[in-house]
């Protein structure tokens, strides 16, 4: 049982790529669910279209890096429009159903053999990340504190990514204190009242969906760049539920809630997986109960249990304010 390894890996995960893209995705979900009360269970769809926009733009359309980024962002806006137009005037459940369905369909379309020339099929896309990493000003080497260190490429990605998180959080903070943000929160509480005051509720919800979707797009870029590859099977609904759980854990409807939630989520599950792998290897856990292939499964089961427990017992999470959580809105 090498506790040193477990500790190092968990500390490394605190600010690493997974926490980063989950934080960005959760920021977007927070705008959707925490502030507007929209049940978007297809956040991973925004990651998918953005990542593929970047990948396809660079490899298939031969666009420069920033043009491909714009393409990805544009696709995210398009997706938000496509999802929102039929469902935003209906009940929350319908948006939930349509978003889960559409994120799965996007994944199936991305991995389909028919579009293999463009999207790479089930093998995915590689070779699009050079435009980003060529901008890296850091010299080669390891960067970090104590046992935690990253190479210069990962450090560059983390610097850019966490800056985006900070900027994004400031943006959300300013927006939610503005009149626009107040209308969103009012829509979350009682849509009919807002409608009776003459506000265009569907318009506000659409704007919220687009804004949150753009954060999801940023998360997609980070996810793709961190792996330097886009594999369609990584963009499954599980990612949405991880981001959702992270958001609820930290506290929906709060500025830093999703960010803190993502950091805790990522490092906790890294800790747990490392612990289990070491325990299985050291034979504290017999292989009849758990073998090393099944350690990943434990994470998924626990996320489900955590999500259920949070919603039943503490829907405001760690930092949330119970008054801000209008979970009875329909």
């Amino acid at each position: 049982m090498d506790f040193g390894v477990i500790l190092t890996n968990s500390l490394t995960a605190l600010l690493n790529a997974e926490a980063l893209y989950l934080a960005l995705a959760a920021l977007g979900l927070n705008i959707h669910f925490g502030y507007t009360g929209l049940l978007n269970f297809g956040q991973v769809g925004f990651l998918t279209v953005a990542a593929y926009g970047l990948g396809v733009g660079v490899t298939y359309l031969d666009l420069p890096f920033f043009a491909a980024i714009l393409l990805g962002l544009g696709l995210a806006v398009l997706l938000a429009l496509l999802l929102g137009i039929p469902t935003l005037r209906l009940r929350a459940d319908y948006l939930a159903i349509v978003t889960i369905a559409s994120s799965e369909v996007l994944r199936l379309v991305a991995r389909s053999a028919a579009l293999r020339d463009v999207t790479g099929g089930s093998a995915g896309i590689t070779g699009f990340a050079d435009g980003f990493y060529s901008l890296n000003p850091l010299p080669a080497g390891r960067y970090g504190i104590g046992p935690v260190d990253y190479n210069e490429s990962r450090m560059w990605l983390l610097l850019v990514g966490w800056s985006l998180v900070v900027l994004g959080s400031i943006l959300v903070f300013m927006l939610m204190r503005s009149p626009w943000g107040r209308v969103l929160k009012a829509i979350r509480e009682d849509e009919d009242a807002v409608r009776s005051l003459g506000k265009n509720v569907v318009g506000y919800k659409m704007q919220s969906l687009i804004l949150g979707g753009l954060f999801g797009a940023l998360a997609g870029f980070v996810f793709a760049l961190a792996n330097s590859s886009i594999q369609p099977d990584n963009y499954s609904t599980l990612l949405t539920f991880f981001a959702f759980t992270a958001m609820i854990l930290g506290g929906a409807g709060r500025i830093l809630g999703p960010v803190i939630g993502a950091i805790i989520f990522s490092s906790f599950f890294t800790f747990l997986e490392n612990l289990l792998v070491q325990a299985v290897r050291a034979e504290y856990i017999p292989t009849s109960i758990l073998d090393s292939n099944q350690v990943g499964i434990v994470r998924f089961i626990l996320v489900g249990v955590l999500l259920m427990a949070l919603m039943i017992f503490r829907p405001q999470g760690i930092f949330g304010d119970k008054k801000e959580l209008a979970l009875d809105a329909r």
Binding site: S112, A113, F300, G304, I312, D328
Partner: protein, 442 residues
Amino acid sequence: MGKILPRPVNASGPATRGGTSALRAGLTPLMSLLALALLLLVGAGPALAQGAEGVRGTLNNAGERVAGATIIVEQDGEEVATAESDEAGQFSIPLPGPGDYTVRLDLDTLPEGVTVREEGGEEREITVRPGAVAPALFILGEGDRETTGTAERAVQLFVRGLQFGLVIAMGAIGLSLIFGTTGLTNFAHGEFLTGGAIAAYFFNVTVGMNLIPATLCALVVGAVFGYLIDKGLWGPLRRRGTGLIAALVVSIGLSLVLRYLYLYFIGGSARSYAQYATQQPLSFGPVSIPPRDLVIMGLSVLVLTAVGLALIKTRLGKATRAVADNPSLAASSGIDVERVINVVWIVGTALAVLGGVFLALSQQVSYLLGFQILLLLFAGVTLGGLGTAFGALVGSLVIGIFTQMSTLVIPAELQNVGALVVLILILVVRPQGILGRAERVG
């Protein structure tokens, strides 16, 4: 005059108060239906020899896995079994015994622009040794091939769509009734189908029963599970006043827990039942269909008719429709709403178990079985009208036929896209569904 009764959505004739005689009158057609069902089950049970022989392979198009293609196994010129490649391009077909077989890939079911690289490469002669599973390799590549007999394929797909729609309906009715009576959108419903299929697999393969009593045992397990999950989870949440959105998220968490528990217990590979998994198809003109699919369709129609009749004729059924329509009004007229909800969960789960077994007969038991058709379940329920049982039936049939027939024009692996398009169109045009009431749904 008399007591206020909720507007009967799908009833015919006056609502009688005579408890026992109405119950008996409703029960007689039910009993005869049950007898017919039992007869079908028994009559359809020629026990196939249980063996471990089979053929398996992966469809690989230069690294690209090909899903949804049909593989046909023949012996002495007669069709012995067929199967479809799954999402990972893999197929695993149990065979009745050792010997020489011809494994043929149906080129019409390959995606556009994909065909076998060499002439005659769609057929493979294999020899299956006792107790062994032989591999069959098809080398695919780019190429053109002529599509044959679109009209014949259309008819075949229509029949398959009908069967698929009936199986979806088993899950969709439970989903719709649960929504109607409690307002909960149960995202874990797909996992109930999977659970039923796995429970039947356990009784069938691990314990060793024939598939039919195994299914009955699975039904009991499912009914008990439905009862427990309502009494233990949803009931307390309802009493606490937990909001419906929170309950929706809880159901998502539940689906995660169940799905990965299934993965933990049965692993990632697909399994087949010991009986009825392979059958020689019968031919009716352009339609070729294995006898088990005919039994599945017949049983589904029977079960669904029984449920429909129960909803119309029996007192409990009427109470269910009343609660689905307006729970507080139903409660104020003396109906025990909690009991009705409990029964709805039990019956809904049992139906899902049966649907899961039927689905697994054509698609094999896997932990993703129910999750993969969750979209279709929701599409069927929304299309027919969330909250009505008959709507769920109609919607599921339409979705089933539509997704199967859409493979005439789009690749098989994308058939769910069609269902999503239908879902979105219905929400734009008529959000309450075909049979739903025109109420404000937003």
